[in-house]
């Protein structure tokens, strides 16, 4: 039984909706203003694309995100699966280790990277990949762990082996399909984080898309707001897609069953 939805609740929700939606509308309107009150225009949006460094910055960010994802895939996925299968008793230890980065403010991590990392690594923007893996680790771990808990992996593996499957078949036919959705979730989070991360990039003096956007913003107020509308919009669509992935998947599953 649900508690009653009162007029008080409506007022609260209305206020909240205003506080969170109004700035978005305001920014969208502002970004479409022209210089000298010439009505509304998309000029500010095309201005973004024509700024120096737009595509190199975006490409750098995409490359960093891709490598970060690769490291997560190679390092985190096998480790968490391993903890769920063989090294069960180390689960608590691994959990603490993986959640540790939460306690370290990113600013402090940036200082540490500057002090400790060898010059050869600091001279390339791929240094960021490793630290993005660190920053993303708590979320990646939680996503994978919750996903694996819900599929009771070790029971599945035992069942598969008792039915006569060898390790290779168990891996390809049981483990990989079972962890696919939580892995996808973890990779999406990593991707979003690496594309939007600003603090480490700016403190370690690399030129990624967020730092480029910040620099360009100082030249043209309308253009900068257009940039923020674009990046926020992009990030939100992306995050909404993540939030809806389970639903979309079940939708497809239903379709299949009907067909």
């Amino acid at each position: 039984m649900k508690r009653k939805f009162t007029a008080f609740d409506k007022v609260i929700i209305a206020f909240a909706a205003f506080f969170f939606i109004a700035p978005l509308i305001a920014a969208a309107e502002y970004s479409a203003r022209g210089y000298g009150d010439k009505g509304h225009t998309f000029a500010n949006y095309s201005w973004i694309v024509h700024q120096l460094g737009f595509s190199p910055a975006l490409l750098t960010s995409l490359r960093i995100a891709a490598i970060t994802i690769l490291i997560v895939l190679v390092l985190m996925v096998p480790t968490v699966v391993y903890v769920h299968l063989g090294g069960r008793r180390y689960r608590r230890l691994v959990e603490i280790l993986c959640l540790l980065p939460i306690v370290i403010p990113v600013v402090s991590l940036a200082i540490g990277a500057q002090v400790a990392m060898p010059k050869s690594l600091q001279s390339t923007s791929y240094e960021l990949c490793f630290f993005y893996v660190v920053v993303a680790m708590p979320y990646v771990y939680r996503t994978l762990d919750i996903g694996l808990q819900s599929v009771a992996l070790s029971t599945l593996v035992e069942a598969s082996q008792s039915l006569g499957a060898d390790w290779f078949k168990t891996l390809t036919m049981v483990i990989i399909p079972a962890i696919r959705s939580s892995t996808t979730g973890a990779l999406f989070i990593t991707f979003a984080l690496s594309l939007g991360e600003y603090t480490l990039a700016v403190l370690l003096h690399f030129h990624t898309f967020p730092t480029w956007a910040t620099n360009v913003s100082q030249q043209n107020i309308y253009g900068s707001i257009a940039i923020s509308v674009t990046t926020l919009g992009g990030a939100w669509i992306f995050l909404i897609v993540i939030a809806f992935i389970p639903r979309i998947k079940s939708l497809f599953a239903q379709r299949k069953r009907v067909a």
Binding site: R142, S228, A235
Partner: protein, 303 residues
């Protein structure tokens, strides 16, 4: 960008039983080998950098052991920065904590599509930050912003009539609310979902009034979760860098901005390692807050 919702959901994890604690003598276990890659990675990219900061922060520029760098944190500009960060984190915790709890109270009563939209919106908004967020607020609440104009022309309220400025303390606080309130909604929702209608009905049948239900049941039940959620808000606001950097142009003393400045080479001669001490100061504050959070969480889970 802070992706906080997965982390803070207080799902008690199973397992953890029968850890190495039960073995009396340390014996090398081969199954640890499978965890070697993780140990090496975290050792090099997390623990080594932190150890380096610690080491740097207790040496002066002549490589002598000293704690004076930490002593400096309690005076002058450094102290101002810590005070500023504490103040911002504290105010943001209070405002976002209360507003977020109220919104959460109403949101958990919704069902179906409305619920799906609000919960995914909270997830999305809590992860918004940095320059894009700052410029969105400039467009909305700035001198030329749409909301500023709306308030002036429709409600005849001049936002800039008083001491408000988007670039001062109160402006930053307003901007922080935009991601802190949704963060609160995410963290606090499970606590409210665990409330049972039976408690309201039991209170009624036992002769209690609504007020007595609030005073003796609802508030005591929610308080630990509320406080622990507030601590996370504090930690999040205390260490936020991107949004502060975009908003303040260095006009407000905040620890993350100060460290940023030091990293960018604005170092006073003879205090090269001061940034390291500050960074450690932040880690220590953060450790304390998270420790308090975990302690409170244990209280809630015992229930």
């Amino acid at each position: 960008m802070v992706i906080a919702d997965e982390l803070t959901s207080p799902i008690p994890t199973r397992g953890g039983r029968g850890t190495s604690r039960s073995t009396p003598k340390f014996k090398f276990d081969k199954s640890l080998l499978g965890l070697l890659p993780l140990f090496l990675f975290l050792g090099y990219f997390l623990l080594y950098p932190i150890a380096s900061i610690i080491s740097a922060s207790i040496h002066d520029n002549k490589h002598h052991l000293t704690l004076s760098l930490y002593g400096n944190l309690f005076s002058g500009n450094y102290r101002d920065a810590f005070t500023g960060s504490f103040k911002l984190a504290f105010y943001s915790m209070i405002v976002s904590g209360i507003a977020g709890a109220l919104i959460c109270w109403s949101v958990v009563k919704t069902t179906g599509v409305v619920r799906t939209i609000t919960s995914s919106a909270a997830g999305v908004l809590a992860n918004t930050g940095g320059v894009p967020l700052a410029f969105m607020f400039i467009a909305a609440f700035g001198q030329e912003g749409l909301i500023t104009k709306l308030l002036l022309h429709v409600f005849h309220w001049d936002l800039y009539g008083g001491s408000f400025d988007l670039y001062n303390f109160w402006g930053i606080l307003l901007v922080y609310c935009f991601f802190q309130i949704p963060l609160m909604v995410i963290i606090f929702t499970p606590a409210l979902e665990n409330l049972r209608v039976e408690w309201i009905e039991a209170n009624e049948s036992l002769g209690g009034t609504k007020f007595q239900y609030f005073r003796h049941v609802l508030i005591p039940v929610l308080l630990p979760s509320f406080l622990s959620a507030c601590l996370l808000l504090f930690a999040s606001a205390f260490s936020a860098f991107a949004t502060a950097a975009a908003m303040s142009n260095g006009s407000i003393p905040l620890v993350p901005l100060f460290i940023g400045n030091l990293v960018n080479g604005n170092v006073i001669a003879g205090q090269e390692n001061q940034g390291d001490a500050m960074a450690m100061g932040m880690v220590i504050v953060s450790l304390f807050v998270i420790a308090a959070y975990l302690l409170l969480l244990r209280v809630t889970r015992k229930r």
